[in-house]
């Protein structure tokens, strides 16, 4: 089959478009998932120390630093209201953890966890999300 110049231009345009749409989306979804895993690891470490009656000050500092370093690029892709809610929840959780208020900290951790899961789940390609 002979392909005309316009056909090549079309094919090239389609390839560029697909890369522009799919590549960044896939990369960001993967990045989001990795970030969530890191946050959960940090929270698990704090929760563990709280349950064992240790002071989670250092772990709290690490998680705070981690969240603030990721907050900006989350706004690039995730709805800003979700980012703001997470910001507030992280602040509350870290404050309760530093005060070693175990019940309140675990409750905040559960809320953060469900919001992170929702952020991840909303972007997952599935029939439920499509419809």
């Amino acid at each position: 089959m002979r392909l005309y110049r316009i056909t090549w231009i079309f094919i090239l345009a389609l390839i560029i478009l697909v890369s522009l749409v799919i590549l960044p989306t896939t990369l960001f979804t993967r990045m989001l998932r990795k970030d969530i895993e890191k946050f959960e690891d940090g929270m698990n470490r704090i929760n563990q120390q709280l349950v064992e009656g240790q002071n989670p000050g250092e772990a709290c500092d690490d998680l705070e630093r981690l969240w603030h370093s990721h907050r900006r690029h989350w706004s690039f892709y995730v709805h800003h209201n979700i980012v703001d809610n997470l910001d507030m929840l992280f602040s509350a959780y870290l404050a309760e953890s530093r005060n070693q208020n175990v019940k309140a900290a675990l409750s905040e951790a559960a809320r953060i966890d469900s919001l992170l899961r929702a952020a991840e789940e909303n972007d997952r390609l599935s029939w439920y999300n499509v419809f």
Binding site: T7, L14, L17, V21, F28, S75, F76, H79, H80
Partner: protein
């Protein structure tokens, strides 16, 4: 300020996308192009209005729509059957001075609309129309009987010289490509401008030359 920058960004993006879609997008739209143009305008407005929505959420659907439009245009260009399905087929509404009722029903085109379109085209009488076709873009093309057409110069055996006009200066801006196309030198054009009382190309508001080499020059108000 964020909203302002976002608006500029989305506006620029939509302009680029519409240019990529071709000239038809701006003029006469096919149904699928109309849908895409509507959706793009809608999608672009969301991140412009609400700064909480990531800009990316507006860009992705617009690029996806461009992707769909390119695929559809390509398929439509290559396959007539797909063209018929997506764009539809032109429909004859009047044949030899008679309105085709079944066609009107099929197109959900009422008689008032048809008569109005005929009047707009300058045919108040249906029996003057040899054929009227409802095109895919919604336009009604009317082909009258030859008895109702105005006589042409050729009917009287008169010569009709084709007089092509080429713009040379528009708003003081010299169109070099057109100058080269007509084989006119800058010096020659300047001579014409001086004849009209101007000094330079900047003094000219509008200038063209016809195919017989006759110049029309209008100077700017401040140069007169």
């Amino acid at each position: 300020m964020v909203g302002f920058v976002r608006t500029i960004f989305m506006y620029t993006l939509v302009i680029i996308i519409l240019r990529c879609m071709g000239k038809r997008q701006i003029g006469q739209l096919q149904p699928y192009e109309f849908v895409i143009a509507l959706m793009i305008s809608d999608v672009a407005s969301i991140p412009m209005q609400d700064i909480a929505v990531p800009l990316w959420n507006g860009i992705i659907p617009i690029l996806s729509l461009l992707f769909l439009q390119l695929i559809l245009s390509f398929l439509i260009m290559k396959h007539k059957s797909i063209r018929n399905i997506i764009c539809g087929r032109p429909c004859v509404l009047i044949r030899r001075g008679t309105i085709v009722e079944s066609a009107l029903r099929n197109q959900m085109y009422n008689l008032d609309d048809l008569l109005e379109a005929l009047r707009v085209k300058g045919f108040p009488k249906v029996d003057d129309v040899l054929m009227a076709v409802l095109e895919n873009n919604g336009e009604l093309s009317v082909l009258p009987y030859s008895r109702t057409e105005a006589p042409q110069r050729s009917d009287f055996g008169m010569q009709s010289p084709e007089n092509l006009i080429t713009d040379l200066i528009v708003g003081g801006y010299l169109l070099r490509d057109n100058l080269a196309l007509c084989g006119i030198s800058k010096e020659m054009l300047k001579g014409e401008i001086v004849k009209c009382g101007g000094k330079s190309f900047d003094d000219v508001f509008y200038c063209y030359v016809d195919s017989e080499g006759v110049f029309y020059t209008q100077l700017k108000e401040q140069a007169r």
